[in-house]
Structures are given as C-alpha cells and as structure tokens.
Amino acid sequence: MLLHTINKSPLVNNALSTCLRMAKDGSGILFIEDGVYGALTGTEITAVVEKAMKTKKVYALEPDVKARGVQDRVIKGVQLVDYSGFVDLTTEYDKVESWL
C-alpha cells in the first residue's frame, strides 16, 4: 500500500482531490507543510476528507499543524505524527508518493 503525502492546502490546488481519486482503499494520506489545512474541521474540504477516512488512514505532521496554530481544529480521527512518526509511516507502507 502507498503512503501519499500532500504538502499544499487543498484550497490552493487539487493535489488532494487527484490523490483521493487515485488512492486505493487501505492506503495512507499524510498531510505535511501547508497540506495540514486539509486535516481541519470547518473547511470546504472537510467532508471530503472525512469520507476518505472511512477507507483510508489519514495522518498529519504535528509540528506543521502546531506551526500554523490549528491544533484545536484537526478532524477527529486524524492521527498526528512527529518526524519520527513520519519516518515510521514511510517504512510501514510499501512506497511513498509525494503529490507535488
């Protein structure tokens, strides 16, 4: 299974929607950098992400979440990881696809 990384806000480009169209059930989606805006409640994309969470694991890089001061708005069920956890995820999944 693939680990997909998203590093741009889904409100800025369509990397996340393209990724979700391609990603197989059981794969992982990791939000990093400005991508963490995709892991928040109360945005245009929240419902899409919550739906994806039924079939895929969704993670967000905690240092990037905190750097943007949005830690209180993370969707329930999104797993926060630090850099060490990021490394672990890349080993747990078979490959890493960076949606740049």
């Binding site: 990037d64 850099y83 990021f86 890493v96 960076s98």
Partner: protein, 130 residues
C-alpha cells in the same frame, strides 16, 4: 531501512528543504541508513556555501554540511540543474572557465544517474518539493 531523499526546491523559499532535513535527521536518529540525498531543480541552491542568513536564523546549507559530516552522508547536486543556476565546484570552475566556485563542503556535483541509482538501491525514495 535504506532511504533515498530527493529535494526539488531551494532554501528559504519553500518548506521542502526544511522538511527533508528534519525527515533525514529523524531517520538517522532511528538508525536508518540514508543512501543518498539528491538535490534537483532549484534544490541545488541548498548547496552554495555563499549563503549567509542572519546569525539568529537557521543556516540551511551549513545544517546539511554538518549532518553530512556527522553521518558521512552522500549529498549530490545535479550537474545540469547546478550549471543553470550557477552552482559550481572547483572542477566545474576549471572546465567552464569561471572565476569562482561556490559548492558547500560535504556536497558533490554529479549526474541524474545518481538519483536513479538511489531509487534502485534504497528501500524508499522520498521526494520533497513544492
């Protein structure tokens, strides 16, 4: 596990280089091997030793050099991308007849084959970019 890292963006403009550094550092701390870090496209700008940020700011270039020294990392700058952006080592300076060189310690200039090799030899190739 063996990792290859590819960085496609320069320092201070995008977060990519910072994320790649933190990832690489965390992987090394966990005992993983970094087969190679390949700097491609604007990423080659991470390899100029003339970079001089304010003293109280992180020095992205020196940070790579120090990590490379500590862990014997192979930091490779793509030659074609480097030539376009004025990143030059002593050999390239001579070959191109330039009056200076600026490649930072710990980096070396080589070809795209090094990225392909990193992809083949590593268990995971992780790409950081914009």
């Amino acid at each position: 596990m063996k990792f290859g890292i590819c960085i496609n963006e320069g320092p201070y403009t995008h977060q990519a280089s910072d994320t790649a550094y933190q990832f690489t550092k965390a992987a090394l701390e966990k005992g993983h091997e970094i087969f190679r870090v390949f700097f491609y496209h604007d990423g080659v700008n991470n390899g100029t030793r003339l970079t001089t940020p304010p003293q109280d700011e992180r020095h992205i270039v020196n940070r790579w050099t120090e990590l490379a020294e500590k862990h014997s990392l192979d930091l490779v700058v793509c030659v074609a991308a480097a030539q376009r952006r004025g990143i030059v080592d002593a050999d390239e300076q001579k070959r191109q007849g330039k009056d200076a060189n600026n490649l930072a310690p710990g980096f070396r200039i080589s070809g795209l084959g090094q990225l392909i090799e990193a992809g083949i030899q590593s268990d995971r190739l992780v790409v950081f970019g914009d």
